[in-house]
């Protein structure tokens, strides 16, 4: 396990470098931030001065070299927009996103497993049709719609929930999570259903029934674990999507997360923050991938020990 982890971590480091390089170069392709940060009437000298102060006057390679040097010392530079250290800004914003993503995925996975299994139990039955139809509809509703309707209906008309914001009790979580949930939930229901249809017709399911196992035991004890692999892959991708930022939710509900920060820093050409944010999410995603690999190994021993005597 230790060697496995070590190998994974080492092999992840190289892509991480690519991500850093890619973001650095791409960010600079979006254009010069000088105009954004200097008043419209700024003179040539002022612009040059600004560029020099932030290193934009150097060649991109030189900038990159400097940046890498800083990153190695865990210095991510300063935000052009707020003047704060970029690393600090990113670290402040990240937990909010992470919490949201974690709770959402937890609910999505549990719910999708239950409903997906139910649907797969009798494929093409009415229950299956209804579950598939509803979950798909949920997945194809534009999230900003859902969010705004949620605010208007539950926040204003019914007056049940706060419209937005982060401080307050559990109720402030309801709408953001519901908004984030619909798509992963719909997708996962479909995936779990597909995998369960296969797993439930496997021979070992028959064997379990021949032992007199109850249907609950058959479905959740035997079939489900076999159906977890594809679901896990997809759940991983969905989680990555959420970690990369729930832009809509964060924007609409004023949730101070990394997605909004990233969008703002792209639109504001705030390179230092963008780079720090991407680096942090990339690291998180790599960790997540490793966790998923470990989950694979935990779920399926064949991954762990390919063959033994």
């Amino acid at each position: 396990m230790i060697t496995f982890l070590r190998r994974r971590i080492v092999s992840s480091a190289i892509p991480l470098v690519f991500v850093v390089l890619g973001v650095f170069v791409l960010a600079r392709l979006t254009g010069d931030p000088v105009n954004l940060y200097l008043p419209l009437s700024a003179t040539e000298e002022q612009r040059a001065e600004f560029a020099a102060a932030h290193g934009f006057d150097q060649s991109i390679l030189a900038q990159l070299w400097d940046y890498l040097g800083q990153v190695v010392r865990l210095d991510f530079g300063e935000s052009l927009r707020t003047g704060q250290p970029a690393g600090e800004m990113v670290l402040t914003a990240f937990p909010a996103t992470l919490q949201l993503a974690a709770v959402t995925m937890l609910i999505a996975i549990v719910g999708a497993v239950l409903i997906g299994s139910l649907a797969a139990y009798r494929p093409n039955s009415l229950a299956d049709r209804v579950a598939s139809f509803l979950s798909m509809t949920a997945a194809s509703i534009p999230d900003f719609w859902f969010a705004i309707m949620g605010v208007l209906v539950f926040g204003v008309s019914l007056d049940l929930l706060p419209t937005s914001g982060v401080d307050g009790g559990a109720e402030v979580w309801v709408l953001p999570i519901a908004t984030l949930l619909i798509r992963p939930f719909g997708v996962l229901v479909q995936v779990v259903r597909g995998a369960m249809v296969g797993a439930l017709s496997a021979p070992y399911v028959k064997v379990a029934r021949s032992k007199g196992a109850s249907e609950k035991r058959v479905v959740f004890g035997h079939a489900l674990r076999n159906a977890t692999m594809p679901a896990l892959t997809v759940a991983g991708d969905l989680t990555i999507g959420l970690v990369n930022g729930a832009v809509v939710v964060e924007t609409i509900f004023g949730w101070p997360g990394i997605g909004k920060l990233m969008i703002d820093s792209i639109l504001q050409r705030d390179f230092a923050v963008l780079q720090a944010a991407v680096l942090l999410t990339a690291v998180t995603i790599f960790v997540l991938n490793i966790v998923i690999d470990i989950c694979y190994a935990l779920i399926d021993a064949r991954v762990r020990q390919p063959v033994a005597a």
């Binding site: 020990q305 390919p306 063959v307 033994a308 005597a309």
Partner: protein
């Protein structure tokens, strides 16, 4: 098609094959210096305990696995050195019938697709001819032409196995490695299939490596037999010789354990103990942990005992 020298007597000659698998930190020696020789038009039986390496040997011969050591020669070519066209031409000469009729057929393909796949790879028969030839093959192995469009899932275990056999026959190979080809078949079909194999041998000079647990079948079809135990060939010789006058105690135990229709056979030799783990096999003679004749001497590598020039065994205490 590339014609390789067909006059040389052995179709296949394998010497000193070794194959180890890494299992965690350990090495599992599935084949430990196996020699095998199959002549043209000959059937060699391969028997042995389950897990002794028979399928692994078959996989190495088919180049599904690369041996760690040892050489394989077909005629005068070393298949592992072949590339491109030549390799494809060689592939056509050697085919395999797999042990597990459930896993070796793609559930999504119809019987016709499965049987016709070799032709697709080799761009052989025109699609129109293929159907006719598929029918022919299906009938050859005792299925019906109408089964061509059915999927493996709709066949019983035995019927599946026959599809596997038909597929192996599709390219008219020189050598077919049969890994338990008939164990899933009932006697009557088994008889049909064995007759078919024999007929092909007579007419086309096909050679077989015939892996089976059913000793009566091996005895019927094989010209020579090799007996394997834990990755080593412990006895080898002409079938009748080996069956009637075994050298190695394991061979004897095997023979006596086989059920027969005649009820009045002698008491079977009951082996004690478990099959040792191939991860750390016993030193010296590998059978010594279960052998009723074992002595301390058996902890050293056993000598080759030759009953006659063609019948040899590896044992300290030959019978």
């Amino acid at each position: 098609m590339l014609e390789v020298n067909v006059t040389a007597p052995p179709v296949l000659e394998a010497t000193g094959l070794r194959k180890t698998f890494r299992v965690g930190r350990k090495h599992l020696t599935a084949l430990d210096g196996v020699d095998l020789r199959i002549g043209r038009g000959e059937t060699v039986g391969l028997v042995g305990e389950s897990g002794c390496g028979k399928s692994t040997l078959a996989r190495v011969l088919l180049m599904l696995a690369r041996p760690d050591d040892g050489t394989v020669r077909f005629g005068d070519v070393n298949p592992f050195a072949l590339r491109g066209k030549e390799l494809l031409a060689w592939r056509r000469r050697v085919q395999m019938v797999f042990q597990d009729p459930y896993a070796s057929l793609n559930e999504r393909m119809t019987a016709a697709d499965i049987i016709g796949e070799p032709w697709r790879t080799h761009r052989d028969a025109a699609p129109a001819d293929r159907r006719a030839r598929v029918r022919e093959l299906l009938e050859l192995v005792g299925l019906r032409a109408g089964d061509a469009d059915r999927y493996p899932g709709e066949f019983s275990g035995g019927q599946r196995q026959r599809i596997g056999i038909a597929r192996a026959l599709a390219l008219n190979p020189d050598l077919i490695v049969c890994d338990e080809p008939v164990s899933a078949l009932d006697l009557s079909v088994q008889a049909q299939v064995l007759n078919l194999l024999a007929e092909l041998q007579r007419e086309l000079g096909v050679s077989y490596l015939f892996i089976s647990h059913d000793l009566s079948v091996v005895r019927h079809v094989a010209d020579r037999v090799s007996v394997m135990y834990l990755g080593k060939v412990v006895e080898e010789g002409p079938t009748e010789e080996v069956f009637d006058r075994p050298v190695h105690p394991y061979t004897a135990a095997l023979m006596s354990a086989a059920p027969t229709l005649t009820p009045d056979r002698g008491d079977p030799i009951l082996l004690r103990g478990e099959i040792p783990s191939p991860l750390d096999p016993p030193s010296g003679c590998r059978f010594r942990t279960r052998c009723w004749k074992a002595t301390d001497e058996c902890a050293t590598p056993p000598p080759v005992v030759a009953r006659d020039s063609r019948h040899t065994g590896l044992c300290h205490h030959p019978l």
